[in-house]
């Protein structure tokens, strides 16, 4: 694999994320697949932000520890990332901040003063320097700048970029590939697009890292995508508003992280009982409580599976990259309406805020599902009992129909009941829906496998750890098994996928092995857990070393 890793670091407020995306854009234009990990603390100015951009001639979705180029806007970047600097690493630094170092120093204060450019253009100087070091054509550099910089700042940015370009020398040469230039999307953006593809009318959310990217993206593109975006007073209101929208016939989705999801659980249970569809994007971050807001974890798996009082069916999907996020967000929303159940799209900071090359044409479009609607005839009863438990929907405003939805145990009409036979029948209706949903999912690729098919070494992972596992598996000669659907759990598909595995490890970004615990519940052996719970995702080399310690 032809690959390059680059790091850009500096203080919050210096536009490190944007700089990272511009670097990703450079490589993308050369036909490379890119992945960007963005690491930042929970503050607005100061601190230390960095982005690691990796580009390769095949699909990737994980970073490595070492880098080929390190772009340091401050001294802290060099000090913090010493372990990433090797003999072949080219260091480019702001000599007005760092002083003398090995590598190329650029006097950025002087450059922006002389070019009368705003301070944020320090990044552009670095981008120019990187292009020269990596042997990237200046036309491509300028193309990337034109695509990201507003017209009125374009000239100063181009001048600053030229100063960076001319301030260093060529070190290596990135070969342009004969491959399409793919757009680079975050998991949040892909999730938002998937929801719209699945029929979203309104997105409702209260800001919470790392889910806010969906809110910002859809709010920014609301007119383009013909969706409505609402930001109410809190997460309780968020889910209730979504349920009101859905009761009246609009397809609504909400987004949050663990703390906000805590507030949504009474609404989730209400959705389960009243059979009003709702789709929830749950982007995990490390807890307990406020935890580590801008970092990553996979520690809300059992919370997502079990949240809400009482017993009701739900769909929980855990996409592993933006392609799966897009496809499964669409599917989750459609299935939520088809079976009138809540659907949860369980992602995490690594996927939500990570940026990946995205190829819409590479994935098959998700299958369509229509809700079961009233077709006239006999007197309407919102909770009419049916063989598969799904009652035809009608919405208020429909002539000749009264729609009664209820959070209490209810009869077929929707009247509150405490009668034993009604309460039992209601619960059985919900169970029939769960069975129907499970059967439906049998037609989907709910468990995916990658890597050496005949290997006895098997790596189990879920969600964002998919790509790091695929790459590490290649290095240790293992195969990877990844469930995309977590509830209803795809028992048969899992049995087939795991058949023949003798040496098994289960890789997760949590402290207790939550997916391993789920597997045990279904009678499967999860093998040895490899866990990481410091708020950071695995790097490929880091995971490989951990795997080598287990696979003998």
């Amino acid at each position: 694999m032809q690959e390059y890793s680059l790091l850009v670091g500096g203080k919050a407020g210096e536009g490190i994320n944007t700089a990272g995306l511009s670097i990703a854009g450079l490589f993308s234009r050369l036909g490379y697949h890119v992945y960007m990990y963005f690491d930042y603390p929970s503050l607005i100015r100061g601190g230390h932000n960095f982005a690691i951009i990796r580009a390769a001639d095949e699909p990737i979705g994980a970073h490595r520890t070492g880098v080929d180029v390190l772009l340091a806007l401050d001294r802290k970047t060099i000090e913090t990332h010493k372990e990433r600097i090797g003999g072949k690493t080219t260091v480019i630094y702001d000599s007005s901040q760092v002083g003398e170092e090995r590598g190329y120093g650029l006097p950025l204060d002087e450059i922006i003063r002389e070019e009368k450019a705003p301070p944020i253009t320090r990044n552009t100087a670095m981008l120019g320097a990187l292009s020269r070091v990596a042997g990237i054509d200046r036309a491509i550099l300028e193309d990337v700048i034109r695509a990201t910089v507003p017209e009125k700042h374009l000239d100063s940015n181009l001048r600053v970029a030229a100063r960076g370009y001319n301030g260093v020398e060529g070190v290596f040469s990135v070969r342009p590939l004969d491959a399409p230039k793919l757009p680079v999307l975050t998991g949040n953006e892909a999730t938002g697009l998937g929801l719209v593809y699945g029929g979203l009318d309104t997105y409702v959310a209260y800001p919470m890292t790392p889910s806010s990217g969906v809110l910002h993206f859809l709010a920014g593109r609301a007119d383009d995508l013909r969706v409505r975006v609402v930001h109410p007073e809190n997460e309780i209101s968020v889910i209730l508003m979504a349920l009101g929208l859905a009761y009246a016939g609009e397809r609504a989705a909400v987004g949050t992280s663990g703390g906000g999801f805590c507030l949504m659980t009474e609404g989730l249970s209400f959705a389960g009982m009243s059979e009003i569809p709702v789709t929830i994007v749950l982007a995990q971050r490390p807890g307990p409580s406020t935890g580590v807001p801008t970092h990553t974890a996979q520690s809300d798996l059992h919370f997502a599976l079990n949240a809400g009082q009482g017993e009701f069916p739900r769909l929980v999907v855990a996409p592993g990259d933006p392609h799966e996020a897009c496809a499964w967000s669409a599917t989750a929303l459609m299935l939520s309406w088809r079976y009138q159940v809540p659907a949860i799209i369980l992602i995490d900071k690594t996927l939500a805020e990570g940026a990946y090359s995205f190829d819409l044409d590479a994935s098959t479009p998700p299958r369509d599902h229509e809700p079961v609607l009233r077709d006239g005839g006999e007197e309407y009863r919102r909770y009419r009992r049916s063989e598969d438990g799904v009652s035809p929907l009608a919405f208020p405003g429909t002539e000749g129909v009264t729609v009664k939805a209820n959070s209490y145990a209810h009869d077929e009409t929707g009247f509150t009941t405490e009668k034993a036979e009604d309460v039992g029948a209601l619960q059985e209706k919900l169970l029939r829906k769960a069975r129907g949903l499970k059967t439906e999912l049998g037609g989907y690729k709910t468990v995916k496998t990658y890597g050496a098919p005949e290997s006895s070494k098997t790596i189990i992972c879920w969600g964002s750890q998919k790509w790091v596992c695929i790459e590490a598996a290649a290095e240790v000669g293992a195969r990877v098994v990844q469930p995309v659907v977590l509830a209803p759990f795809p028992v048969e598909a899992w049995s087939e996928a795991i058949a023949g595995a003798s040496e098994v490890v289960c890789v997760e970004n949590n402290a207790t092995g939550q997916f391993a615990r789920l597997l045990r519940e279904y009678g499967f052996d999860p093998g040895t857990s490899i866990l990481k719970y410091d708020g950071r995702p695995f790097a490929v080399d880091e995971l490989t070393a951990r795997l080598e310690g287990v696979f003998v």
Partner: protein, 290 residues
């Protein structure tokens, strides 16, 4: 169910379980009449009315009226109502809520609905006590109220919900009394027809845990034309502060405030689109990405 357009047909066959003498009966019958009359007079089909209930004695109304209903959870009907109104502006959305329900559990939602001026009507069944959970104090119980959770008497002062609503930006504020039924019905109709957020506080008798019939009968009076200027904040606040739910004072019922402001739902100018058009827009957005 199938709607029945006669006033009698608006009552469902569900068995009524309110206590004899409960103030909820007046609210039920006056709301039924208000809906039937608006339907007749304004040509609004019964199917376009939606009732929402929280949890408490008031919520049982959802089962008793043959009108679209969303029987929600404790304190949460107001955001659900906002969602319904957003989805379909042709609907007349009426939240029935209790005093524990909305002033304790769901006060944030009430304040924000008023702040937004979402076009819904909120009817508070304020009996100033928790009924279904058998007699605890609520945010409007008077100081000293002895409930099962406060056997030595409440030490807090009650809130004046009308004052809270005026401060929050409600564009219609009224109070009724369950023993002044015709007056109550007229207020319901005025509130439902008001464009924007309408708040109706109903002083409701609780026959079992807090029977204030004699207290209210001696103090309640109807606001007369010329008593105040309902278009002026200062005039409204003065009348609203006449009685603070605690000290002894005359208790005014009627409309305190009624003004026009832009309606929240109408601020969303996004044109509607079908699924295929949206999907094409998704594809185009990815193709033209940044």
């Amino acid at each position: 169910m199938t709607p029945d357009r006669s006033a009698a047909g608006l009552i469902t066959p569900a068995q009524n379980t309110w206590c004899p003498g409960c103030g909820n009966f007046s609210i039920q019958h006056m709301m039924r009449s208000a809906i039937a009359e608006i339907s007749e007079e304004e040509g609004v089909p019964i199917e376009r009315f939606v009732l929402l209930g929280g949890i408490g004695c008031h919520g049982k109304l959802m089962d008793y009226l043959n009108v679209n209903s969303l029987y929600t959870i404790h304190g949460r009907s107001v955001p659900a109502a906002t969602g319904i109104r957003l989805a379909n502006p042709d609907l007349r959305v009426i939240c029935h809520v209790g005093d524990g329900d909305i002033y304790a559990e769901g006060l944030d939602h009430l304040i924000f609905a008023a702040k937004r001026n979402t076009d819904i009507t909120v009817i508070v069944h304020d009996n100033r006590v928790y009924g279904l959970t058998t007699g605890q104090y609520t945010p409007t119980s008077p100081t000293g109220f002895r409930g099962r959770s406060t056997p030595r008497g409440v030490v807090e002062h009650p809130i004046n919900p009308l004052e809270v609503m005026l401060a929050a930006g409600a564009t219609y504020i009224a109070r009724g009394y369950t023993r002044k039924t015709r007056h109550l019905k007229e207020i319901f109709k005025e509130a439902i027809m008001h464009r924007g957020f309408s708040f109706v506080e109903v002083l409701q008798i609780c026959a079992t845990y807090s029977n204030l019939t004699d207290y209210y009968d001696a103090r309640v009076y109807e606001i007369q034309d010329g008593d105040l200027n309902t278009a002026r904040f200062e005039s409204a606040i003065q009348k609203i502060r006449e009685w603070d739910y605690d000290r002894d004072a005359p208790i005014a019922i009627g409309t305190f405030y009624s003004v026009e402001r832009p309606v929240y739902e109408e601020s969303f100018g996004v044109p509607r689109a079908g699924l295929e058009e949206r999907r094409n827009r998704v594809r185009r957005l990815v193709e033209d990405w940044r």
